[in-house]
């Protein structure tokens, strides 16, 4: 395509969501992590889920590690905002037990078939 040009890694000035720099975004992430970490015992008690506090903290860590690769400050801010919303919904018991179990632990979710034979047997 003649009118396609390879993207240049151009630098732009854009409006931030909240954080002005990396350190600020990082501290927001840590703040969110700590808030979740401290709430987990109460969440486990209130929702009566069949998980221990340690398991929930491991899951919390896992969820944060999933987005470790994100570098854009605005995306980090958006993720933190979403995490705060989730925390608020959880702490205020706007969720129910199965929301936590299906959203985070996914024990009843069957993994999608990956190799040829299991895909064939699943009718794909």
């Amino acid at each position: 395509m003649a009118n396609r040009v390879a993207i240049q890694k151009t630098v732009r000035h854009v409006k931030p969501l909240i954080s002005q720099n990396n350190q600020e975004a990082r501290s927001r992430v840590f703040g969110l992590y700590k808030a979740w970490y401290r709430q987990i015992p109460y969440i486990v008690m209130d929702y009566d889920i069949p998980k221990s506090v340690e398991q929930c903290r491991a899951k919390l860590r896992e969820k944060f590690e999933e987005n470790r690769h994100v570098k854009d400050i605005r995306v980090i801010d958006a993720l933190v905002i979403k995490g705060q919303q989730e925390l608020k919904e959880t702490v205020n018991i706007w969720k129910q037990k199965h929301h936590l179990m299906s959203q985070y632990f996914k024990e009843t979710q069957e993994p999608k078939p990956k190799d040829f034979l299991s895909k064939f047997l699943a009718g794909q």
Binding site: M1, V5, K9, T10, R12, K15, Q20, N21, V75
Partner: protein, 169 residues
């Protein structure tokens, strides 16, 4: 026939880490940096970012869709009837066909894919490509081959120098 009618352009990148380097899209004028160096006269309260945003972390799509889905960008074909052409200048983004089956008894068409009916319209293909890149989807663009309209004239059938009836002679 589709393969004859369209020329397909694919994104070169297959893996997410290389995506940013090989993105091919024209930029919008409003997004282009000023002609002067970016360091000059930064508006207070703004931050400096490099490249496009990667929205795949916040757009809510399951992570496996990034590797299993392919997005097709194309211009819809004109209606063969005498309708206007107003609707056919857009570029349409649609996802590949997945999880579709036919009911063995009644022949009903079904789908288990929530993205099967998603069609997003864009004014230009560059906007569509940019949207795909921001969301981390693997895209391909089908470009219409321009068709030269054939001159259809009754009078030309009787002309001495127009070879309109070569097949019957």
């Amino acid at each position: 026939m589709a393969s004859l009618m369209f020329r397909t352009v694919r994104s070169i990148s297959q893996k997410a880490p290389h995506r940013q380097l090989s993105v091919a899209s024209a930029r919008l004028a409003s997004d282009l940096p000023a002609k002067s160096a970016p360091s000059a006269a930064q508006v207070p309260g703004t931050i400096t970012v490099e490249g496009w945003e990667d929205l795949s972390a916040i757009n809510g799509h399951p992570a496996e869709e990034l590797v299993t889905r392919r997005v097709r960008v194309y211009q819809p074909a004109k209606n063969a009837m005498q309708s206007g052409t107003h609707k056919y200048h857009n570029w349409v983004l649609e996802f590949d066909t997945q999880e579709r089956w036919e009911n063995p008894l009644m022949g009903w068409a079904s789908t288990g894919d929530p993205l099967s009916n998603v069609q997003v319209e864009f004014a230009t293909k560059e906007e569509a490509i940019e949207f795909c890149e921001k969301n981390g989807w693997d895209w391909s663009v089908d470009i219409k081959t321009p068709v030269k309209p054939r001159v259809k004239s009754y009078g030309a059938n009787f002309s001495w120098n127009k070879n309109t009836r070569t097949s019957t002679k």
